[in-house]
Symmetry: C2
Subunit: 386 residues, 2 copies
């Protein structure tokens, strides 16, 4: 234990930048970080081999909670021991990442996962050993620390990339700036990756629902046509699979402002999967489902019946690949789709059609067909998949 | 010529949506589109085989204009004839794309290149022939129409994806909304792909320069540290190779507001290349250099001397790959770098170092080292590569 000096921890305010005002969440996270470190120290002081118990993020430890209707982690953990040759390295890396998070929080700063890697990378004194050989060694350790502390990545002051935008009848405060999302020009409000209530506060909202679309190109059509003004809503996109910031914001819009979330996604396995993640959470981030998943989210379209229902041209269809078929069958077997007749029919029909359809393809019926007919009709009929 | 009815063209205002107010640029573009179509019709009326002359976008028709210091297209053209079996298809596609652009402009709407493809895709009556088999057939035709009409893609109402963000001491009007870029929260103003003066107007600007960084992660560090407030500047990023909207906005900030543009990019061939494109234009978009390139842009860093100058740890270096070495040599041979001693030394030293450095690596010296020491020192010394 020679390498660890006992109990050098001071209160955060003394260690860190005295000008930094810690939020309530910061104090909570620092307390968890400190208690993890205290555990290590007390094991050492009692001459016991230090270890950490890391909740297992493997598929076998993930389950669908039927009553809460979200994907959750089970209680399985893996022990990581310092005095175990095969675990010593990842033990050290885990402790190192917690120290990096502590630095960031105390200095009131954030960084990306790449930044965290560079922050902590060094040769271990007296050896040629690097703390991390590359970023792929560091990323899963950050996730380990998230689940161990039961803290969102954002609470550790580590963020994913910004992707996704929002416009509509809502005003919010982002880091002290008042943002009126109905006056954001053609680009919209760029959804940050950290949208916790400490940084992003909802000030006022007239909107009655959220329309979430898959791609920025589709989002732009809706924004250009001022759809959100006509239909008094909020319009978001996540540039494909929405990043954490977008999912968390949708979750907050739904839970805090009671807004229904309608998803306009492609009629293909990828579109189904995006919906599944928004609604039930993902296997990868199962430990964050409670703050991310929206079991009440609705799938507005595109649906496999749209080819006939909307009278689309065969020219705009895209043949399913073998991989598409395989993915579709996997998704149909997800426990949360398994007992839903409408979803089983939806996926079956796509397989029977033999093709997929992108939302952009609706332009073939007219430049604004999607904003003036397709979506208004679905909203009018309240015709969604659940 | 049975398929073309002669002279059905009406003034745009009659054809299109009567509620659409055309901008000056729209009228100009419509006039070019109409004159292209008139050319076809008049050839037909004089019983001559219709053709189009498309400026050649091949490397052999691109040159570096030494006095203007930008990459330009030469005057070479390729003829595309209707009555030529190998050209009839692309002739038809070219005319089709121009008709798509006309529709968009007349209806006051925009779309993506994917949208354009879907808009125009159909089976040709009485045949099984599709107008386009896939998008990769349509994209180059859009570029052909751009060069033929000497119109920016954005003037044809076709846009690239939104990518890149801006904060700082500037206020602008975007599509009627006033945007104060010093009050845009943590996400910043999302730079739209169309930033022509008709849509984006500069209202007021106190900033003294623009700092353009490569990646959103680095941008975020600068924004979080309110660098732009301390140094009275504008902060932009382009998420890697900046898209057209970002390049055009930088060009306008430089030319209209006389702001110097400083680039903070990685010390690797990709960083050099991004600088080269911002400064001189790209071979692909040579026909847009006049509105995109900024020959006065400066390279602030990272530089190959920074490893020693900043005392960086060997832990944060990344070994050059064979491909990196090859690219570096290609870039050193670019005519616009060839006679610049400082650039030749820069690239030589990188090759001699044998490694590259990312801007993010500076975090290893301290979380805010890049914003508090590295960039301020370079600005203080006015130490840039040109």
């Amino acid at each position: 234990m020679a390498k660890r000096k006992p109990r050098t921890a001071k209160p955060a305010e003394q260690n860190g930048n005295p000008n930094v005002e810690l939020t309530e969440a910061d104090r909570r996270t620092l307390a968890s970080l400190r208690s993890l470190a205290d555990g290590v120290v007390s094991m050492a002081e009692r001459s016991r081999p230090p270890h950490l118990d890391i909740p297992s993020r493997s598929l076998s430890n993930v389950r669908f909670n039927k009553s809460r209707r979200v994907i959750e982690m089970g209680s399985g953990t893996n022990r990581r021991e310092l005095f175990n040759l095969s675990q010593a390295r990842s033990y050290m890396q885990t402790v190192l990442v917690t120290s990096g998070c502590k630095q960031l929080i105390e200095q009131g700063k954030t960084t990306s996962i790449r930044g965290m890697y560079y922050l902590l990378k060094h040769s271990i004194e007296g050896t040629k050993e690097e703390t991390f050989n590359d970023q792929s060694e560091c990323d899963p350790i950050i996730e380990d620390v998230e689940v161990t502390l039961n803290a969102l990545r954002e609470e550790l002051h580590v963020y994913a990339s910004n992707r996704g935008a929002m416009v509509g009848n809502i005003t919010l405060n982002d880091s002290g700036d008042e943002i009126d999302c109905s006056r954001m020009g053609s680009g919209g409000y760029s959804i940050p990756s950290i949208v916790e209530p400490e940084g992003v506060k909802f000030l006022s909202c007239d909107a009655k629902f959220v329309l979430h679309v898959e791609k920025d190109t589709v989002w732009r059509r809706f924004n250009e046509d001022k759809f959100w003004r006509k239909h008094n809503c909020i319009l978001t996109h996540g540039n494909g699979q929405p990043p954490r910031g977008v999912r968390r914001l949708l979750n907050r819009l739904h839970n805090e402002l009671k807004l229904p979330i309608y998803c306009l996604l492609d009629n293909d396995p990828w579109g189904y999967y995006i919906y599944s993640v928004i609604k039930q959470g993902s296997i990868n981030l199962a430990y964050e489902s409670a703050r991310m998943a929206i079991p009440e989210a609705k799938f507005l379209g595109l649906r496999s019946i749209d080819f006939v229902r909307c009278g689309l041209s065969p020219s705009v269809t895209i043949n399913l690949s073998d991989n598409d078929r395989k993915r579709a069958q996997q998704i149909a077997a997800y426990p949360w789709f398994q007992n839903k007749k409408a979803w089983q029919k939806e996926i079956e029909l796509m397989l029977k059609n033999g093709f997929k359809l992108e939302v952009e393809a609706l332009i073939n019926k007219g430049i604004s067909y999607v904003t003036e007919e397709y979506v208004p009709e679905r909203l009018e009929e309240q015709d969604f998949l659940d």
